[in-house]
């Protein structure tokens, strides 16, 4: 058997893994419900609807209602996954998330699908580049952005056990496997994908693979990089951030999100408050309406790519 190498084997889209994991959970427990807002197609929930029709609740295109109804269902002990495109779920229904779910501690599992710029050329109405920022400022919610199929399945399973609210967001493009056998997923605890001493890439979600490929490329230049999958943006694994600052020369954070208020600023806050000064760059989507293109083209345009991240890291090392 070949030894596992991160980033070599292409897996499924995280949305597919979400749907399979949820079907498996729901098949074993009739209290598991999925609530959708005309999102069963994009949520890959057609087979769920066909196999477990009594465990899917449709509310129509009404995200506020989606979250409010989910809170009510959760209050009675149901294990509720509320599924809607991340953009609409986290903006249209923000007050329901804040009050009905988080403030009231109704442990709804909020699933933001087609997250970040997954919708590509459909434009900024459909992009979720604000969700991490707004939800970070809401108390009593965990925010998880899985990078690969393993992290996705683990996050969806972990969510079922949680007594407090959780938001999980991912995209719809196939992802490379990043974790081998023996990896352990814990909400709030980052996972190292690669070790190194020159650079630490602290990345989240679908950008982790690009950070890994940048690290692989930089090794040819004699530079070694640590790559961390910071799958949980809140609560942040501050320890991993502090270790990166003391054990490597520079830190580059990477996220499929606005540079305002996301992972990068969360890490910066940890470092500043610890009194640690380290060359530091936040790579994400700048404060502008996103350039038209596919998700891949948008990533490349803004330097969230193998080459772009390597360039950013090298420039930082040479400062």
């Amino acid at each position: 058997m070949m030894a596992f190498v991160a980033g070599q084997e292409l897996g499924k889209a995280n949305i597919e893994v979400f749907s399979e994991t949820l079907l498996s959970l729901a098949g074993k427990n009739e209290n598991v419900l999925v609530v959708t807002s005309d999102s069963r197609g994009s949520g890959r929930l057609m087979s769920f609807a066909a196999s477990l029709p009594d465990q899917i609740v449709e509310v129509g295109i009404a995200e506020q209602n989606l979250v409010g109804v989910s809170a009510g269902l959760a209050s009675t002990g149901k294990i509720v996954y509320a599924v809607s495109p991340a953009s609409f779920l986290s903006a249209r229904a923000l007050e329901q998330i804040k009050n009905d779910v988080c403030y009231s501690n109704q442990p709804v599992k909020l699933i933001g699908i087609s997250a970040g710029v997954s919708y590509g050329a459909l434009g900024s109405t459909h992009h979720a580049t604000h969700d991490l920022a707004v939800l970070r400022a809401v108390h009593n919610i965990s925010i998880v952005v899985p990078a690969d199929n393993f992290e996705t399945a683990e996050a969806i399973n972990a969510a079922a056990q949680m007594a407090t609210p959780i938001y999980v967001r991912f995209g719809k493009r196939p992802m490379y496997h990043l974790h081998g056998p023996g990896a352990e997923f814990v909400v709030g605890k980052s996972l190292a994908v690669r070790e190194g001493t020159d650079v630490t890439f602290i990345a989240t979600g679908e950008t982790v693979y690009h950070a890994l490929m940048a690290a692989v490329a930089m090794e040819k230049d004699g530079l070694t990089c640590r790559v961390i999958s910071m799958h949980t943006v809140k609560p942040l694994d501050a320890e991993a951030v502090l270790h990166a600052a003391s054990e490597t020369r520079v830190i580059v954070t990477v996220e499929e999100h606005s540079v305002c208020g996301g992972l990068g600023e969360a890490c910066a806050g940890v470092l500043m408050q610890a009194g640690l000064s380290v060359p530091f760059r936040i790579v994400g989507l700048p404060d502008e309406y996103t350039m038209t293109g596919s998700q891949v083209e948008i990533f490349e345009h803004y330097g969230i790519s193998d080459e772009g991240l390597a360039q950013t890291a090298k420039a930082l090392l040479n400062q």
Binding site: A62, G68, E95, Q96
Partner: protein, 275 residues
Amino acid sequence: MTDDELRIKSIHYRKRLLKYIKKANAGHTGGSLSCVDILNVLYNRILNVSPGNFGEPYRDRYIQSKGHSVEALYVVLADRGFFAESELETLCRHRSHYVGHPTRKVNGIEQNTGALGHGLAFSVGVALSAKKDGADYKVYTLLGDGELAEGSNWESLLTATHYGLDNLTAIVDRNNLQLTGRTEDMCNLEPLAEKFTAFGWSVRGADGHDVAAMTDELRSVPFDLGKPSMIVAKTIKGKGISFMENDHKWHHGVPDDEQYEQAQQELDALLAEYE
């Protein structure tokens, strides 16, 4: 409990909610006076909920969507034994659990409300869960009329009908006033009953201060099998205090010492009629 005993309770509730609003120097006076008779009927005649069964899955649920009228809810819950009335001495004070809107930190409260247009969706979720479980508990929610301008209500009205939630009853505290003035001057709601009917609800009207009439309506839900029930309860904002009635300035007005004394005297005079 007779109708007269209930009416006497309502007067005492009014006296108490004014007392705690006065003490806190804060509160939603007009709306609490408007809905307190409805809460009286719900908690003393209709709801199968008590300190003993709160938390049990089979209990009836009451969700107060118009969360700002929390002072009425607090005095009724205290009377029903969910907590000692003396706790209300801390209303709105630093570190108190008795916040100016309902929270689950207070025994007897199902859901945190206060931002408007939230209670109905939550209630739909609870009622839908009961249907899925084949449970026979009922769900009641109280909506303000001003809050009906929030579009989220109308999303939830659709969903309640879609799932045929005849275990759900919504009551509108139709006092025709909101913070700034008349509801019809802010956002015209009429014909309100027809709108609910068009959304598939079974709708009845009642005098929201007539405990006998409210009892009759609430005891006859569901009005139609397979449909959610709506009671448009005609009420008077500030009900029971002559100078507060039908004046939107009392939405969150707090009486000064003289006004407070007059209000209590008016309520005492009403009590005397029953003695």
